[in-house]
């Protein structure tokens, strides 16, 4: 007689935002083995970037890789192509770019927290966080004019300047959000049921974080100081008040706290940028066609994002390689699932903040 049962999670399941399939082999709800399939949404974007679109348009194409970290994809591509074209941007452009990146991080982290709460059966918290998230979505909409696909960054600069009204709105909303995040930290730390659901569940040890190449909040919750923002000089993060936030145990509880504290740090950075914004051009003129290759790393809300670009002096790029955070973390995720309960699996999965359309591209 077979001793294990197979529980499928996906490719369609209530707790999933995006299609991925995990097949859990369980012994009475205890997971012993995991099989995965991630390629349900392969759209051939790398191919389209090199064959259908010119290098000026690719920025808008790669934004469609993922809805949540759209701005990060465009930004990484733009920084890469600017490196090849040798464009030097001014301080104002850099600051506006960091502003949008950090606003993006705030809303992505809030979505992940909401999703984790929902997957552990905490509907009230889910609705609350999604309501709070509107504050930051409003800022982004006011600045860029679009709600989800911002299309804010273009080669040589940004598309729009920030108006005084937007600035005012951003300041009030960020101050409000700061208070709400403090409140959320209190609610996540002092709840009997979430403690049962999150503490020591789905833990990744410090050594495993390095062995499995964990990235982003997943690694930082385990205490591993892995953050591209600290390892890259491409954007002036240190000037605007970036601080590394680390957890200890690497369980869901720590991941939530790391995300909440990072939101606080991001709010601080946004406030610093908004108060220190100078006058200046928002677009740098450039000429010529790209020729050469570039490697760009950037910290997306979920972890490191990597772009390899190869151009050969024509309007078309020769190769675009996109490496997204979830892509390299899947073996680590599988390792975490082993040994935990199936009842925890949706919450653990949500706390990884996986992005399948990023992974399959």
């Amino acid at each position: 007689m077979k001793k294990t049962i197979t529980i499928p999670l996906g490719s369609q399941h209530i707790s999933l935002l995006e299609p991925v399939r995990f097949n859990f082999s369980c012994e009475n709800e205890k997971i012993t083995d995991v099989d995965y399939n991630v390629g349900f949404v392969h759209r051939g974007i790398e191919k389209a970037c090199t064959e259908k679109f010119e290098y000026k348009q690719v920025g808008y194409v790669v934004a469609r890789v993922c809805g949540l970290c759209a701005i990060t994809h465009t930004m990484a591509y733009t920084l890469g192509i600017e490196h090849i074209l040798n464009i030097k941007t001014n301080k104002k452009i850099d600051y506006l770019r960091i502003l949008m990146l950090e606003l993006d991080r705030i809303h992505s982290h809030l979505l992940c927290l909401a999703h984790t709460a929902e997957n552990s059966g905490f509907e009230g918290m889910f609705m609350k966080i999604m309501g709070d998230r509107e504050l930051v979505m409003d800022i982004q909409e006011a600045i860029s004019g679009n709600r989800v696909q911002f299309d804010f960054v273009c080669i040589g600069g940004v598309n729009r300047d920030i108006s005084t009204e937007c600035e005012k709105l951003a300041f009030t909303n960020l101050a409000l959000l700061d208070k709400k995040v403090d409140d959320l930290i209190g609610k996540f730390t002092s709840n009997w049921s979430t403690a049962l659901k999150y503490k020591n569940i789905g833990a990744l040890s410090y050594d495993d974080a390095f062995n499995f190449n964990a990235l982003g909040p997943l690694a930082r919750a385990a205490g591993a100081a892995i953050d591209v923002r600290a390892e890259s000089s491409i954007l002036p993060y240190k000037e605007v008040g970036y601080k590394m936030i680390l957890g200890q145990n690497g369980d869901i509880y720590d991941r939530n706290l790391v995300r909440l504290k990072e939101i606080k740090n991001s709010i601080l950075m946004c406030q610093n940028i908004l108060s220190g914004l100078t006058e200046g051009e928002i677009l740098v003129k450039f000429k010529g066609k790209p020729n050469g290759e570039s490697f760009t790393r950037l910290e997306a809300p979920r972890g490191e994002i990597f772009y390899y670009l190869n151009a050969n002096g024509t309007n078309m790029l020769q190769r675009v390689r996109i490496k997204t955070p979830t892509f390299s973390q899947i073996p680590g995720m599988v390792e975490i699932f082993k040994g935990s309960d199936y009842a925890d699996a949706p919450a653990i999965l949500a706390s990884f903040d996986p992005c399948m359309s990023c992974t399959a591209k």
Binding site: G39, H42, F212, R297, Y308, R319, R321, F327, I330, T359
Partner: protein, 112 residues
């Protein structure tokens, strides 16, 4: 940048890679045409600014490449991807993670 021979790949990476110091970003493949495939194993250093260590080699599509998943478990995704998208053969790595039977075969390969 460091050029390596495909036969020495495992030794080179084993002697270089320390999980606590180096971060494996990805394995990148680039079809240069005329049956030449450029492979790049991209590493960075933790806590160092913009420091890349790239091992690269040029191989042909007929060769069976060795796998580095024994050393770096997370490389399996990159390797499975290039198996699917370029149609190269890597030892012990099966395709089908990104494409299925009805998809075009090795779409990122040059048609020349």
């Amino acid at each position: 940048m460091q050029e390596i021979k495909i036969e020495n790949l495992i030794e080179e990476i084993t002697s270089f890679y320390d999980p606590k110091l180096h971060h494996f970003v990805c394995l990148n493949a680039n079809d240069l045409g005329e049956n030449r495939l450029k492979l790049q194993w991209i590493f960075t250093f933790y806590n160092q600014e913009d420091n890349y260590q790239i091992f690269w080699t040029i191989c042909s599509f007929d060769e069976v490449l060795p796998t580095i998943t024994k050393i770096i478990p997370s490389a399996i995704m990159s390797e499975a991807e290039i198996v699917d998208l370029f149609g190269v053969q890597i030892k012990d790595i099966q395709g089908g993670l990104y494409l299925d039977e009805t998809s075009p075969i090795s779409p990122l390969r040059c048609s020349i």
